[in-house]
Symmetry: C2
Subunit: 516 residues, 2 copies
């Protein structure tokens, strides 16, 4: 496919363009507007649920945004689009405007940086600028952020479950098309140490990781050679980095004994063998038995790479099983657990159990007659009623450094100057609490300027820097919030002033309906 | 991101390249080999399960394959990759070979065409050629086919559930990054009539579809105008294609009455109003009430577009609810159902409930000493033992035209000449059945030559042609196999000759283990 059309500025929902034309026709297209991107719920994987998310995708989105515009080719696509009567859907005046001003150079973007821990109903990215262009940008923002946050969050959970041991991302073969590159990037942010994906690794400045496949052993066997010949060929080439896959024939009767012979040869030549990989069967049991054989042969620090349908729950289960059973076989459980490496594939790159973050991008204010006016949408489902107005986002820490909650204020409020902050639940009108100045150890504003009217004013951090941000934020979460199953709920609130604006808007719209 | 590295030939698992170097070092790299791509299980969505899959992704994969090669940039990435001791992982002789012959121009590809209905354990794509290059190609094959088959299959299920009514793909905002383009293509193959994704629609020669968003109504409200002003602005611009979103304020008290006013204006001007969209609340109930109001105003053929978390089960439930309840409100259920259009988003583009097809690509034979030698892999899980040898794939039809089963034969077998075909279950040794010539109405070979030693010898059909292929295959499936819940199991078998080769290889490998 020539992807120029499908990955350029037309990477958007069609209705964004038809709405842009409505705005153009009404003379509203340049009206400054504010759209906020947020998600409503943490991923819920079925039997388990997240208590936090990890922000990712911003740089990918911004670089896309800066690289696209309406050019002749994309405008021609629109020009040729006719309605049921055969008339052009898009008028020439509108196409002319798109040709001249159809880019994102007039928009400002505010965002919470990548790697930060984030929560529901908190704006993560804000677009301000001409409504017609903000509308066209909306789909791409949703697309890039929803997927990368989803995957970074899953990676953080897997890493927590792995108790800090290395996690390798192995999912590209079953992940969603070319998006596995964005997905692999998100796993590196969220918790994977490396990925098997060669191209994205090199592009991001990482070394890809891998072992070998069953096919290599099979090929040797088909030539009348043996598993050990295959292992030896591999070990001779990659003397200090060979991880031998031991389950092509029979893990404990063939694979591990053959690996030990090869490791002995390597040791005799002065090399330190790296590891074996288990890819089928009862991984906990096989890990215990393999380590026992390796230890008996004097390889007390060879790693065991586990793979095959792993996720945060299966890793937790494997560790639990090893802790219960290893001693029975004379193996030290904690020593074994500290030699494990997890190759996590499909479940990570697809966020198994929860396929999509429910992020939305909503119009919350427009600028008219020299002032910002808040906008509102009621809904059949009250949980979907949005939080209007231009606002700021704050995170509050207690004196042990732990984050205790996020809240949304009006743009003009200065909560760090207030003696007490009245906080309201974003959905439940009956819930209210008061935060006293003395309860607050630190208060931090979360949104940063990324683009100022089309100018990039933000220096994108490296993946390593983003990882550090994530580690600091994770360390500042209460452990109850990080629990894999049934996590404690982190507080997200509105200030009383913002809450009142929301209530007034709801009342006003309901009055309108009553009058009709 | 500069995606040249990550979307070029390095779009592969790193171990494919390290294995290629092992083969090179052993002088095996040019050995002709045969890899077969197949999946092991139909998607299982939890409470429901597929009884068939729809093939998709081949053209995307082949075009990628033909467009990439090892160039200076990708080779430099490999050259700079050092091991733990700081030595280069890849030797110059190997890199030199990659530079000269590191492309897919020597490979042959056989495949089942896109749009065909496909089943587990049946090879869908076959790679034949030098083992080192086939290995490097494996990941991309898996990636492209696994995702598109998964999504085309979900789309086919949604379309079946929709009883033939139009399905619009609306998922790009929550789908997986740029892969939503490949995903949208797969939905068009599998069952979606249109997609909201503007770029991929134009690229594939379709018209994208859409309505408008809540934000458009909100923007008008914020300017002191009303919902009806927003509707009118939209209807004046898109006179014969306006679908008005009626749930921004209150569906039945505001949205539908306002839409009816606008439709009346359109009708007075001689236009035929197209439809309304319901996006929240109890969609079945709101559809009944909306249609009642529309009918009372004389709009008996305005469409109702439904959206909000739809999938094949929710659509089925909505139709069931309408059939139970419409009459109570004086609405004709079948008339209403025949006016419904389904906007299906997240659940379709992410295959909600089953995130990844379990497709694998396995080495089944290598060519040595002038003959093809079958290869085998045992496994801890017996269900993963593969079917060896070069083979052909056949589909058998009974005299009513329905497909009754697929089977795999040796490449040299001619089943259409046999008086009876002994068929074996691929996993269960105890299951065997005999197909008599008289039972066979038609027998069809499924694999087609796509690339012959690097030459494209296949003309890619248009999406429209692929859709027709899919419709024919769907019509030839027994309805029990198409059932959304608990489908009947379609038969996939091995010929007795192929089965014997498999048994012999298993015995031989087990003997090997015994001798060690």
């Amino acid at each position: 496919m020539n992807n120029k059309i499908s990955e350029g500025i037309l990477f958007t929902d069609f209705y964004q363009i038809t709405m842009a034309q409505v705005y153009f026709k009404e003379g509203m297209h340049k009206m400054p507007s504010r759209f906020e991107y947020f998600f409503r719920h943490y991923p819920d994987y079925g039997a388990h649920k997240a208590g936090y998310c990890v922000n990712a995708g911003l740089e990918t989105f911004i670089k896309w945004m800066m690289s696209v515009r309406f050019d002749d080719e994309s405008i021609n696509c629109l020009r040729q689009h006719t309605d049921l009567s055969g008339r052009p859907v898009f008028q020439e005046a509108f196409l002319e405007w798109l040709k001249n001003e159809g880019n994102f150079n007039s928009l400002s973007i505010y965002a919470i940086p990548e790697g930060r821990v984030i929560h529901p109903n908190v704006p993560i990215v804000v677009i301000e600028g001409p409504i017609a262009l903000a509308q066209i940008l909306e789909t791409s923002l949703l697309n890039h952020l929803n997927y990368q946050i989803l995957i970074a969050t899953k990676a953080a959970r897997v890493k927590e479950s792995a108790l800090g041991r290395p996690v390798f991302e192995f999912g590209m073969r079953r992940g969603p098309g070319m998006a596995v590159n964005a997905g692999a990037r998100a796993t590196l942010i969220g918790g994977a140490d490396f990925t098997s994906n060669a191209g994205i690794s090199y592009q991001l400045g990482y070394k890809p990781k891998g072992t070998h496949a069953h096919s290599m052993v099979q090929a040797f066997l088909a030539l009348g050679k043996s598993e050990i010949d295959a292992f030896r060929a591999c070990a001779e080439l990659y003397q200090d980095s060979s991880v031998l896959l031991v389950d092509t024939i029979d893990t404990l009767r063939s694979g591990v004994p053959n690996a030990i012979k090869i490791f002995t040869e390597l040791r005799d030549k002065g090399y330190k063998p790296l590891g074996i990989r288990l890819d089928s069967g009862d991984l906990a049991y096989l890990a215990i038995q393999s380590v026992k054989m390796l230890d008996n042969a004097g390889f007390n620090d060879v790693n065991i790479v586990l793979s095959n349908q792993l996720d945060e729950i299966i890793i937790w289960q494997i560790i639990t099983q090893i802790r219960s059973e290893a001693a029975r076989y004379g193996v030290n459980a904690e020593n074994l657990i500290n030699r494990l490496i997890y190759g996590v594939g499909t479940s990570l790159i697809t966020s198994k159990g929860h396929e999509a973050l429910d992020g939305v991008c909503k119009l919350v204010a427009v600028f008219k007659n020299s002032e910002w006016k808040s906008t509102m949408k009621l809904a059949e489902n009250t949980g979907k009623t949005l939080n209007p107005a231009r606002k700021k986002i704050w995170r509050v820490y207690e004196d042990n450094g732990k984050a205790v909650g996020d809240f949304l204020s009006l743009d003009t409020e200065k909560p760090y100057d207030m003696d007490e902050i009245i906080l309201r639940h974003p959905m439940d009108n009956t819930k209210k609490r008061i935060l006293k100045k003395s309860d607050i150890f630190k208060i931090e504003e979360l949104l940063t300027v990324i683009m100022d009217k089309g100018q990039l004013v933000y220096k994108f951090p490296s993946i390593e820097e983003i990882r550090k941000t994530k580690e600091i934020d994770m360390a500042n979460l209460h452990s109850g919030v990080k629990r894999i199953i049934f996590p404690h709920e982190y507080h997200v609130s509105l200030t009383d002033a913002l809450w009142k604006i929301k209530e007034n808007l709801i009342t006003k719209i309901k009055d309108e309906i009553g009058r009709q």
